[in-house]
């Protein structure tokens, strides 16, 4: 399932002022490809990611995932689309503190009934991210790297076509950041999805297939 971003414009209204963030961003990513989006703070990296993840609509332009424009869907349908086609890994892991590792992983499968296979897949994924022995632990009992690995497992639980990572190693030390990056790429290879990673870490960016840079609201291939 390909990702197509065409001429996306995004402006924020703050009081009477209109703040332009994106000014015609376009790029395509084929299924199985990975891309890193780089740029200085405030360049709109996360905004691009949020628009692709349907968390925020673009002011203008198109986003197509597998040829479908998710913004044409109703709110419930868009939620389902997001649930089935998109996986998120946030800089802050956003794990639910009251749930165990396994439960956190299956959370996306709970949004719609009938996804009974979720738990088995969660176990497999957690095994693959190296946390098979910590299924019942709570987030508070894990290290930062481990939490992010749980977040990656959670993002992949519904086999999303697009995996979006927003500074996934931003809160980790060098060693943990490397491990997480390797894991991401390994799983990306296995799952054959579109991987979009926002980072300002150029070392990390080097490890992905393509690198894009956002400057003054536009996107440039590096």
């Amino acid at each position: 399932m390909d990702l197509q971003v065409t001429n996306v414009v995004k402006q924020f209204e703050i009081g009477d002022t209109t703040v332009p963030v994106l000014d015609g961003v376009s790029f395509d990513v084929a299924a199985g490809d990975s891309v890193a989006i780089m740029g200085p703070s405030g360049s709109g990296k996360s905004t691009v990611l949020h628009i692709i993840g349907t968390l925020e609509p673009p002011t203008a332009g198109d986003v197509k995932i597998g040829g479908r424009n998710p913004f044409a869907l109703s709110e419930p349908d868009m939620a389902r689309f997001r649930n089935e086609s998109i996986g998120f890994v946030f800089q802050d892991h956003h794990l639910l503190p009251q749930y165990s590792v396994l439960e956190n992983t299956i959370v996306p499968t709970l949004a719609f009934a009938g996804n009974a296979a979720g738990e088995e897949r969660a176990r497999q994924l957690l095994e693959r991210v190296g946390l098979g022995h910590r299924l019942d632990h709570r987030p508070a009992q894990l290290s930062g790297g481990e939490r992010q690995r749980v977040a990656i497992a959670r993002a992949l639980i519904n086999r999303p076509a697009v995996l979006l990572c927003d500074e996934p190693t931003g809160n980790l030390d060098h060693r943990a950041a490397n491990a997480v990056a390797e894991l991401l790429l390994e799983l990306h290879g296995q799952e054959s999805n579109v991987l979009v990673v926002v980072t300002h870490n150029s070392d990390l960016a080097q490890r992905f297939g393509r690198r894009l840079e956002l400057r003054e609201g536009r996107c440039f291939e590096v």
């Binding site: 968390l55 709110e75 939620a79 802050d92 639910l96 439960e103 299956i106 959370v107 499968t109």
Partner: protein, 1145 residues
């Protein structure tokens, strides 16, 4: 601080409102207490007018005493006014409709009395009553008016349905100088009950004079006023009254008792001194009583006075014998004199035998006959003589007894033997020309009177025909009033008899205590005002009722304030990071909290007045059964507002302090990062807490088993213990679950629910607090419902409480006949039809010492409860269910026998109703209540047992023997327990009420009486339930606040879920389910604990929980709780996605 308060105005406003609720409820409850007390005080002042002190004597005395007292300078210095009046208890009947009212106060009054109520009331209690018209208390007859005028109060008018001009029959107890339970006392109905037909000329409102009553009770009395002259004529006591009512001057503390002594005459206390001719030109002063018997103390006082005057005395005891028989010859109806044979030195005359020798001293079984009688009987010395005579039994019925004597000699008809003055002037006998015309108060068979008897009567009148020893007389014919019928004092030679008589009288007046004759002043107003403090402190009661309301408000204060602090976590972190000491930060927040508490407290005081008003409105309307008076109005005492403000501020600041104190547990770095959640409990803490649930549960089960096995099923303390333990166990178990949060979230159709259940453990403390509140409130609601009494379903309880009796009756005028006896009933006018209706009916007649109603129907604190004399029959038959027995006395199988225990002089064993003792008299078993006896002496009533849910809630029971010992003036029976054959109770009641109408006989089904008490109990419970319900409502709102807070704090989490494709509807379901779960857990823990706590009572008796009322209440709790959670749901749906996600960074 002001800027800080205004900047965070939303949360501060919410906290202020919660503080206001707390202050309003707390202060409002205190205001209710004040208002009840002040209203009772107003009622007391209103009903007594200017009357401060009263004297109500058992006997009538000269009305002139009023003027004599008023003429004393010492009296006028201390007292403004005095009025004499007749105060009686009786009943009234509408002459046409036969509408009847019992327990009517019948007053004979004059202008002096009316002046005691000359000022219109200014009491707030009566301000609501529209009419300020001063009624005319004029008894002048209008032209053509046949019958005396009567004025009645509005309550009596309502009872009788009378209008002006109607004729009313007023009946009352007629006084009698002679005790009615002695041979010479009349027990005939027409002598006991007086009746006057009157014309209604005025109806006065139930206030001021219309409310006049010496007994404190919040219910309006039924008052009938007649002119003093009319009532004096009706009671056949012209120129006499039975009470004095005094208006004290300012704050004078003058004691009127000594002044009374100077005005009283011997005639006022029923004593007569008459000079009679003694032997050898001597003069004797004979002292007799209108009672025809001199009480033992009085005899000794007379003898001592005579000794001081160096005058000898002689006791005389004359009694009536029905017959003197030797073999088949008899002399009917003659007097017998009991005296000690005197020696020659005594100036009272002697008995001489026929041969002129002095009569010998008599043995216990010896008798002397006068010559006339000896001749009639053909008696010789040594003959056996049988004397029959009447005695009056404990049941006040005449019984014929016979005693055999040995004839010791014949007395010559001269000297003392022919002294006609020996015999008092007996009613119906003295002054009658022929024996055949006698109308004595006891039955005589006039057919046995012979001509010779008439001849003796003509020659010697009532001169005794036989003589026995004084000891013999005392043994055979003593009553509790004494034995001596007269004392003679010989005037010493050379002393003027008139002077001697005056001196003797003066000494007697000086030495006799007027209170021994019922002349005792009582500071009725100060006693009434003391009693107005109330048996029940409604302030405390409403504080207890409002407990959950206050708790809920405090919880919300704490939650909201915590929310406010947590919202400012970064500010706190910053302050700490830049070097502010923690204490200073705490003080800053505490100061802000105090300011909010003060602001909310002031607002709460305004609301408190409204809350108090609302509660008093409730007491006047929906909870009227609990107070029985619609005359309770709000009284706002500034001191109470200050106290309420102080207590609520203290509670609020305390709750805020606890919140602020917790700040130390969060390091500045976490606060700066926006983390405000408290760290989880340590493993050690969790382990320790883990033991709590099983421990409490085990203890509860143990207590439950004890309750079931140990006959403690009805013990409220044990039930509460079981409930509290189970509640703690349930909450502890929930807390443990929350902290461990077991159970797995799974993919299924119920994912939202399973997530919700797990989410409730997100903030264990808040969840536990919410569950605790809901559980406690449900516990109260279910417990209260479980204790609600349904008379229809509790036939066995009523049966036990009624002791097997079907009817209970009271008479305004005591009845002296035996209602179980055909002859007694015949005397009372029962005809064949009425007799047939009373077939197989058993009536237990009891004596009653009037006093204050000790039941929950009386709001005033009873000072001297009504006393009932338990007869031997009642004691021996046992029955009733005992709640508690004396630990100090050895119990016999029949606990009633404890009433016979000898606890020493002045200490009287008593049994009372458990509820009345606990809540009204506040008298524990083995505790003592000090009351005044008939003569003002101190008596200690020791509670030796209590009976459960009984008909005896208004009175205390003592043995009849003790009642007669300490209240000897109580003759007649006023309280009746009736055992009627199945299904005939109504018919029996109607028959008795009809025949005994003039006595004001009023019968009630025992079941109705107990049900009446249960209604009061239920009303208190429903008050508790209503305020508990309000608390629960506030609690559920608190629960909503918890959820809203949770949603706000978890906005990042909710945004994450939405990022993963969770729909809004799912999240709404999840938040709703969370609330439902907490509500359900709370309801379950609270209800189950309550049900198990009251289970023993249900196991004991076939009572049912009122599910019909309970389930809707609990359902309403759930619905309101769910509605409150909708707010949280709306909050959840409004969470903006990206800001929430970004805020987490």
């Amino acid at each position: 601080m002001l800027r800080s308060l205004t900047h965070h105005w939303r949360v501060n406003l919410a906290v202020t409102l919660a503080v206001a609720v707390c202050a309003a409820v707390l202060t409002g409850a205190l205001l209710v207490g004040d208002s009840v007390r002040a209203s009772l005080r107003d009622l007391t002042l209103d009903r007594l007018g200017h009357i401060d002190t009263s004297l109500v004597a058992e006997r009538f005395f000269r009305a002139d005493l009023v003027d004599e007292l008023a003429a004393l300078p010492d009296f006028t210095a201390g007292f403004e006014r005095v009025a004499g009046a007749i105060l009686l208890r009786g009943n009234a009947v509408h002459a046409d409709t036969r509408a009847r009212a019992s327990q009517v106060n019948v007053f004979g009054i004059d202008d002096a009395f009316i002046e005691l109520f000359d000022e219109p009331t200014t009491s707030a209690v009566f301000q609501s009553q529209a009419s300020d018209r001063q009624p005319a208390m004029s008894f002048a007859r209008s032209s053509g008016q046949l019958f005396p005028s009567i004025v009645i109060n509005a309550s009596l008018q309502r009872e009788l349905g009378a209008v002006l001009g109607d004729q009313l029959l007023v009946r009352f107890r007629l006084g009698s100088e002679v005790p009615r339970d002695t041979l010479l006392g009349s027990r005939e109905a027409e002598d006991v009950v007086g009746t006057i037909r009157t014309s209604l000329v005025e109806v006065v409102p139930d206030r001021g004079i219309g409310r006049f009553d010496l007994n404190p009770h919040q219910a309006s009395p039924l008052n009938a006023f007649l002119s003093l002259n009319d009532l004096q004529a009706a009671v056949e006591q012209p120129g006499r009254v039975n009470s004095l009512l005094l208006d004290r001057r300012g704050d004078s503390d003058a004691d009127p008792q000594p002044l009374l002594v100077t005005s009283l005459s011997l005639a006022d206390i029923g004593l007569g001194l008459s000079a009679i001719e003694g032997p050898a030109n001597t003069t004797l002063i004979e002292i007799e009583s209108e009672e025809f018997v001199l009480r033992p103390g009085l005899v000794e006082t007379i003898e001592a006075a005579a000794r001081d005057l160096r005058a000898p005395t002689q006791r005389l005891q004359v009694y009536m014998s029905n017959s003197l028989r030797i073999a088949d010859r008899q002399v009917p109806y003659s007097m017998v004199l009991a005296l000690d044979v005197l020696d020659d030195s005594m100036p009272f005359g002697r008995l001489n035998l026929l041969d002129g020798t002095p009569a010998p001293a008599l043995g216990a079984d010896e008798i002397l006959l006068n010559e006339w009688t000896a001749t009639e009987l053909g008696a010789s010395t040594g003959d056996e003589l049988r004397m029959s005579y009447y005695v009056v039994g404990l049941d006040e019925q005449l019984r014929t007894e016979e005693t055999r004597f040995r004839m010791a000699g014949t007395v010559a008809m001269r000297g003392l033997a022919v002294d006609a003055d020996l015999t008092p002037e007996y009613p119906g006998i003295e002054g009658i020309d022929n024996i055949a015309d006698w109308e004595p108060p006891f039955p005589v068979d006039l057919s046995v009177i012979r001509d010779v008897d008439e001849e003796y009567w003509d020659a010697y009148r009532g001169t005794p025909k036989s003589f026995v020893a004084a000891d013999t007389g005392r043994r055979l014919w003593s009553t509790r009033y004494g034995a001596t019928t007269a004392v003679r004092v010989a005037v010493p030679a050379g002393v003027d008899p008139a002077t001697f008589s005056f001196e003797l009288g003066s000494i007697l007046l000086e030495r006799l205590e007027p209170q021994d004759y019922g002349f005792r002043f009582v500071d009725i107003k100060s006693q009434g005002l003391e009693a107005a403090a109330g048996a029940t402190d409604f302030g405390q009661l409403f504080l207890a009722f409002s407990f959950f309301l206050i708790l809920s408000a405090l919880m919300i204060v704490s939650l909201l304030f915590t929310l406010g602090i947590e919202q400012r976590g970064k500010e706190i972190g910053l302050l700490l990071a830049v070097g502010y000491p923690l204490r200073q930060v705490r003080q800053k927040f505490l100061a802000e909290g105090a300011a909010i508490a003060a602001l909310g407290g002031v607002a709460g005081l305004v609301a408190a007045v409204l809350y108090g008003k609302l509660m008093l409105w409730g007491l006047r309307t929906i909870w009227l059964a609990a107070v029985g008076s619609p005359l309770l109005y709000l009284h706002v005492l500034p001191a109470t507002l200050v106290i309420g403000f102080a207590i609520s501020s203290f509670a609020v600041v305390g709750s805020i302090w606890i919140t602020v104190r917790r700040l130390r547990r969060l390091p500045p770095t976490r606060l700066l990062a926006g983390v405000t959640r408290m760290p989880a409990a340590t493993v050690g803490q969790r382990r320790r807490r883990g033991w709590l649930a099983p421990l409490c549960f085990a203890a509860a089960i143990g207590l439950l088993a004890y309750a079931l096995a140990g006959d403690q099923a009805s013990n409220p303390g044990i039930a509460f213990g079981i409930g509290a333990l189970l509640l703690t166990a349930g909450l502890a178990a929930f807390a443990t679950w929350c902290r461990r949060a077991r159970g797995r979230v799974r993919s299924s159709s119920f994912a939202a629910i399973s997530m919700a259940i797990r989410n409730s453990s997100w903030s264990p403390n808040r969840s536990i607090l919410s569950v605790a509140l809901v559980a406690s409130a449900c516990f109260v609601i279910v417990t209260v419902a479980g204790n609600t009494r349904d008379p229809a379903r509790e036939a066995h309880v009523i049966e036990e409480g009624a002791g097997g009796y079907d009817l209970i009756a009271m008479a305004d005028v005591p009845i002296h006949q035996n209602l179980n006896d055909v002859a007694g009933r015949f005397d009372l006018g029962f005809d064949a039809t009425a007799e047939a209706r009373l077939k197989d009916v058993r009536i237990t007649q009891l004596r009653l010492v009037p006093g204050d109603d000790a039941s929950c129907l009386n709001l005033y604190q009873p000072r001297r409860p009504r006393l009932l004399g338990a007869t031997d029959e009642l004691i021996d038959q046992g029955g009733f269910r005992f709640a508690a027995l004396s630990a100090e006395l050895e119990a016999s199988p029949n606990p009633w026998e404890l009433l016979r225990a000898d606890l020493g002089p002045g200490v009287i064993p008593a049994i009372g109703d458990a509820n009345s003792m606990q809540w009204i008299l506040k008298l524990p078993v083995d505790g003592e209540l000090i009351i005044e006896g008939e003569r003002g002496e101190e008596l200690r009533l020791r509670l030796v047992g209590t009976v459960q849910d009984s008909i005896f809630q208004s009175e205390l029971l003592i043995s009849e023997a003790n009642l007669l010992r300490y209240f000897p003036g109580r003759s007649g029976f006023s309280y009746f327990l009736i055992d009627a054959p199945a299904g005939r109770d109504v018919e029996v009641a109607a028959s008795l009420e009809d025949r005994l109408e003039r006595f004001g006989f009023d019968a009630t089904r025992t079941a109705d009486r107990i049900a009446g008490f249960l209604v009061v109990q239920n009303t208190y419970l429903s008050t508790f339930q209503a305020l508990g319900g309000l608390g629960l409502l506030l609690g559920t709102i608190g629960l909503g606040v918890v959820l809203v807070r949770n949603v706000i704090e978890r906005r990042g989490e909710l945004a994450t879920l939405r990022a993963f494709g969770f729909r809004r509807a799912f999240l709404a379901r999840m938040v709703l389910a969370e609330n439902a779960f907490l509500l359900a857990i709370g309801t379950l823990i609270g209800s189950a604990s309550a049900l198990l706590a009251i289970a023993p009572r249900f196991a004991l008796a076939a009572v049912e929980l009122p599910w019909g009322a309970l389930l809707p209440t609990l359902a309403a709790v759930l619905v309101v709780g769910m509605l409150a959670s909708l707010v949280a749901v709306i909050g959840a749906l409004r969470v903006p996605l990206l800001p929430a996600l970004k805020a987490e960074r």
